[in-house]
């Protein structure tokens, strides 16, 4: 079901944890849906120098968090802003269709953290304010014995 990349990032997730005094924090998802992703950013001179995450969710949510944080580390705020869930999923060598939304969570958590960073610093980052965070899960059938 999962690629080796997914399994690798699930078993050895990069950047797990919290940042004590973050420059931006973003949290998406909710416990009701079984997934919460929280991303902490350290930004220095428009560059993301450190990033950590905590995730409550399925294997692919954890792997997506790990991969997404890896992908924005050392990048500029604008580059991070351009990270799409597709790119995360591709970097993981793909995700099963029902699990694509887990990568969406990662994209959104990063955007939320960047919004938080922009708000705190009164920055006007082009293309940021008009992001709509859509928390909707896909609905899929319950499978049973």
């Amino acid at each position: 079901m999962y690629s080796q990349k997914v399994m690798d990032h699930f078993t050895n997730p990069r950047n797990v944890g919290e940042i004590e005094t973050p420059d931006g924090v973003g949290e998406v998802g909710n416990a009701k849906c079984g997934d919460i992703m929280k991303i902490y950013l350290k930004v220095e001179e428009n560059v993301i120098t450190d990033v950590k995450f905590k995730t409550y969710g399925c294997g692919s949510a954890i792997a997506s968090s790990s991969m997404a944080t890896e992908m924005i580390k050392g990048k500029t705020v604008e580059e991070a802003l351009n990270l799409t869930n597709k790119a995360v999923a591709e970097a993981l060598d793909g995700l099963p269709p029902v699990k694509m939304h887990c990568s969406v969570l990662a994209e959104q958590a990063i955007k939320k953290a960047l919004q938080d960073y922009a708000r705190k610093n009164n920055l006007d980052i082009p293309g940021l304010t008009d992001i709509e965070i859509d928390d909707d899960h896909d609905h899929h059938e319950e499978i049973e014995d």
Binding site: Y2, P13, A31, C33, G34, K54, G59, K99, E142
Partner: protein, 389 residues
């Protein structure tokens, strides 16, 4: 200690026992014809089906002519419920069931509500997973034609008060069906003593293969066919018989019947050992469902702050197969309806784990799980934003 594979998902499906596999193999070979055929090829097959029917009946204290073979538990459930409903739909239209039935029952009831104008009462369960008998009694109306309440639940293993329900149904002239797919072979069942009118069972939960099951229909109960056609199963269930599967199911029932007391005492001990040790070493653990009125084969937990799919995946990596009613296992929104019916919060329900035992389960495997599970839960909790230690 390292174990290669610890299969604790037997409530999903059991492996086929070698002696059961042996019993069926002959029936694929040349020379075994259609059991309805007249020539000697066919005749031999027929007698093996008859023996299987006896064995299924014996396990339930039914008589052989009350047993009808089906293509599995779901078909048996659908047949029992639609068979009564469609037969009496021009008379009365009320059905009673519970919130925690298997979807084979639940979705059938919903279909009858939506497409055929039935009224269905879905009984709630108490927090131990068991219905309230008084609530059941007061749900009965003069229009109630059918009660379908599962013998034992597939996620949390709780056993309903079947004998009481049966007696109440009999008094009120209501047909009583029970989905005993999980219960058969795991507890003592006596359809006569328990006043059961119809009972569903399935092969692949008791060491026979998938795709074969049976419906017990008490002598005298009339219902529409689900599958019309040829004269098989005394004209009540058409279709050339899955002979190998039926022979295997018969063998499985025979084995279950012989070893039932031993099976129960062995699995109960392992299950209780597993539950108590896990509870002792992993904090923030909830055991779901009644501790006593439960199948010997099912241990079920919720571990707070983590999510079931991640847990299953981690267990799979160390060779342990379990299951979870977490919605994230399937990418859907809500955890299983059973866990929700227990009154658990979404958050807790998402962290569910079911470990289900079989005759093959050993003390060593339980030890292995007790060793491997706690650090896995701990690791996931440490990643969780909900967990603060």
């Amino acid at each position: 200690m390292e174990l290669n594979r610890v299969y604790l998902d037997n409530a999903a499906t059991t492996p086929v026992k070698p002696e059961i596999l042996d019993s069926m193999l002959d029936f694929y070979k040349e020379g075994y014809g259609n059991p309805s055929s007249i020539h000697s090829f066919g005749r031999e097959v027929k007698s093996h089906i008859d023996i299987a029917r006896e064995n299924v009946a014996n396990l339930l204290n039914a008589s052989a002519k009350e047993i009808y073979f089906t293509g599995g538990g779901s078909e048996a459930d659908n047949w029992a419920i639609k068979g009564i409903a469609l037969r009496y739909m021009n008379q009365d239209k009320h059905i009673i069931t519970t919130e925690i039935e298997h979807h084979a029952v639940l979705d059938t009831c919903k279909y009858l509500e939506k497409n055929h104008g039935f009224k269905v009462t879905y009984l709630k369960i108490k927090e131990n997973g068991i219905i309230d008998i008084e609530e059941f009694k007061s749900a009965i109306t003069k229009d109630t034609i059918l009660t379908s309440i599962m013998f034992a639940n597939n996620e949390i293993g709780t056993i309903q008060p079947i004998k009481e329900i049966g007696a109440i149904c009999r008094e009120n002239n209501i047909v009583f069906h029970t989905d005993a797919v999980q219960a058969v072979g795991n507890v003592h069942i006596d359809v006569k003593d328990m006043n059961i009118d119809m009972l569903s069972l399935s092969g692949h939960k008791i060491y026979a293969p998938k795709g074969v099951g049976a419906l017990y229909i008490r002598n005298g109960i009339r219902l529409d066919n689900l599958i019309h056609g040829g004269g098989q199963e005394r004209k009540k269930r058409a279709g050339t018989e899955n002979v190998a599967g039926i022979v295997a199911l018969g063998k499985a029932c025979e084995i279950a019947n012989k070893g039932l007391d031993e099976h129960i005492s062995k699995l109960t001990a392992l299950r209780d050992d597993l539950i108590s040790r896990i509870q002792a070493v992993i904090p923030h653990t909830i055991v779901t469902g009644d501790l006593e009125k439960r199948l010997p084969s099912i241990a079920s937990f919720c571990f707070k702050f983590i999510e079931g799919e991640a847990l299953l995946l981690s267990l799979d990596l160390v060779g342990i197969a379990g299951s979870s009613g977490s919605a994230c296992t399937s990418g859907s929104l809500d955890p299983s309806h059973v866990l929700m019916a227990l009154g658990l919060t979404h958050e807790v329900a998402h962290g569910s784990l079911r470990l289900s035992l079989s005759d093959f389960t050993t003390k060593e495997e339980i030890d292995y799980v007790v060793e491997k599970l706690p650090p896995i839960v701990e690791r996931l909790r440490n990643m969780s934003p909900l967990y603060e230690d």
